[in-house]
Symmetry: C2
Subunit: 462 residues, 2 copies
Amino acid sequence: MTTGKQEHTPAPLGRQYALLTDLYELTMAASYFEEGMQEEATFSLFIRKSPPDRGFFVAAGLAEAVSYLTSVSFSEEDLAYLKSTRHFNPAFLDYLKNLRFTGDVWALPEGSLFFKDEPLLEVSGPIIEAQLVESFLINAINLQTMIATKAARSTVAAGPRRLVDFSLRRTQGVDAGLKVARASYLAGFAGTSNVLAGKVYGLPIFGTMAHSYVTSFCSEIEAFRAYARTFPHNTVLLIDTYDTIAGAKKAIIVAQEMAARGEKLRGVRLDSGDMAALSIEVRRLLNEAGLDYVTIFASGGFDEFKIARTLEAGGEIDAYGVGTKMGVAADAPYFDIAYKLVKYGNKPVMKLSTGKVTYVDKKQVFRFFDDTGAMREDVIGLREEGIPKARPLLEPVMVQGRPLLPLPSLSAGRKYFLSELARLPMQYKDLKAPPTYPVRLSPGLQHLQEQTERRVREQELG
Amino acid sequence: MTTGKQEHTPAPLGRQYALLTDLYELTMAASYFEEGMQEEATFSLFIRKSPPDRGFFVAAGLAEAVSYLTSVSFSEEDLAYLKSTRHFNPAFLDYLKNLRFTGDVWALPEGSLFFKDEPLLEVSGPIIEAQLVESFLINAINLQTMIATKAARSTVAAGPRRLVDFSLRRTQGVDAGLKVARASYLAGFAGTSNVLAGKVYGLPIFGTMAHSYVTSFCSEIEAFRAYARTFPHNTVLLIDTYDTIAGAKKAIIVAQEMAARGEKLRGVRLDSGDMAALSIEVRRLLNEAGLDYVTIFASGGFDEFKIARTLEAGGEIDAYGVGTKMGVAADAPYFDIAYKLVKYGNKPVMKLSTGKVTYVDKKQVFRFFDDTGAMREDVIGLREEGIPKARPLLEPVMVQGRPLLPLPSLSAGRKYFLSELARLPMQYKDLKAPPTYPVRLSPGLQHLQEQTERRVREQELG
């Protein structure tokens, strides 16, 4: 394990990724420009449908969003490319040259728990600016929020046992590889196998050997001995290459050889087979040999469900490598997350498309706690509405294009998440079909919502 | 639509991503180094288990793999970080400073069809080099192969109808956003909404307006008119913001206003509701108004299954925006893809871990076609084995660390994929539970496999 430094300030993403947007953001911008539309627009970012089994969500990705918004601008090369597409006229491209984000952003702090329909981010600014940033903001926040939410479920399932992100090889790309390491750490993991993530985010990194290491030696026990020679103080032996129990017996021989030299084998790793049964047997063998200090690490298809099943079956596993299924959120690999216009000028707006509800206007999420400090109920209200005795959750993070105070560090976010998770009543942490956390609308929002819907229906369908 | 330039040579990924690896690749390397192990190792990259409903796979991501292998090296900053972790001794770090990949690579050409257990890439080189690159290679090839495979299924379902990648906002990160645009184009899509992907890969880009555009105007029809003013030659109107049929009627008014000015409305877009029924009704309304030239574009939750259902229900849709479900391969968001040591020195190797088979030694995939040119059967054999009348599929792409001829362009890969897809018998293209394409082992491989397993069993478990 390596404890790294503080999380770096992310690179100026906006300069790199101004073109990382859907073409329609730019064609709409061109039309707003032609039409002289410059009024303030507010967009809400929220999850409009909960995937199965998610009792809560964990907000993540804010640092990336702020880095992008603070720096978004089109380079000469970007503009030359846009010109080459022949979609845009010179006046608009000229306008883009000086475009910067000058709006305001309210957001849930990193690591906050939240629920369906609650905005985790609201952006207000001239409509072109607030519109253009849609694709990047959804992408950045969807990924980290989805992964933090998925990883948090392993944290719930594993209790005090240590979890390590092992997902890099099968995350959907290299950006996801980094973000999964970050988001899973935020959600309570101890660290990652991903070395670059260790460097970039200052995360503890973990890892020892693969099957290829074992098979490259003339025998398993020689591989174990060689590794122990190279890393006398940090050896975890992978024991399932040929047969887990036979491997455990060889690991015990090597552990005893190490002990004779005054060294301690740190652990063994299981990577296939019936994890509960094998871990019980391996624990017994280790203990019988006086090696109760040797920990059992397990990897191979773990997610919150397999962790829970293994624990129920009495598995004696001290730490888990949690890989692919967490790293791609395999049972819910995307959120139905949207960034919707909720106000333009002084007019609250909504669409009526089948089965998709958007709550209008600038909003706030108000949270009620009971006397023990446990979460009780949320109310989605208007930003300026007074809701007594509730904690308002959204905080201003950017004003007129400039970030307010530096965002909390990743470790601070992790602490905040863990403290908030402790305040969430148990039933919402159920891994399967948890009940729906109570979220209602404030009277002010309810009224404005109905009024707006009536107005829109009358005007467009009446 | 914008036809862009040639695909860029990818940036030297290896310099940027030497640390994008699992820590164990480096600890194993340190141990190989200490032990003086420098013999040639061969690793096979293959899919060891087929996800549900995949009758074939599409090989993709080779350009990225080659770019990485050609340039992988540790910077001073990388080495300083590794030193700070206190895992490694100075001699090893010194060795890493000059490390380059000097091995050979054989691979399936981009866009090839392949099946479970068939290597799509084999790397041979000094064991440290061939081991270190594992995490990046799996990551790069898993993502693009998985997406090209998923997208190819939409290509099969849609037949001649045009498909556009709309997934950027919910791909798992920005790297995935770019790679999904690329891989779906390889698999027959017409282009993408992702502007940066258009620039980087020279893809056609598409897009018009979102609901926010419509709701920002005082009425839907005014929004339609404004857009037509800005883009008189390229307007597709999104008609479901309030009610699809009411929207279609307003689009017809605007189309007629455009026609009176000598302009042509290009299309309307549906984004919610019963797509088949709505498209039939909208087509009828358009045709009655003499607007048979206005195309119907549909988006909203499309993947191969929804495209097939919509077509079966008689949907009259000319083009589809295919988004999230393709962009994250929602029904199979990862492949069980592995990179396994198959030979070290002159010794074929394998692991025996429960339920995971690795075929030993350097291999070749041989493909048989019938008299009509249709694919009939594949044989996995030894690299040097002679299999008469079959086409060997793996080609050398790097020798001694240097790429051979430049790889084919993305458009050439797309053409190759489409021609290969035409040679795959229909039944393997079934979207649900296709039969298993026949793949068998050559006598040479079968024999070596059995011999190796016997040897390993006797030695480790005997």
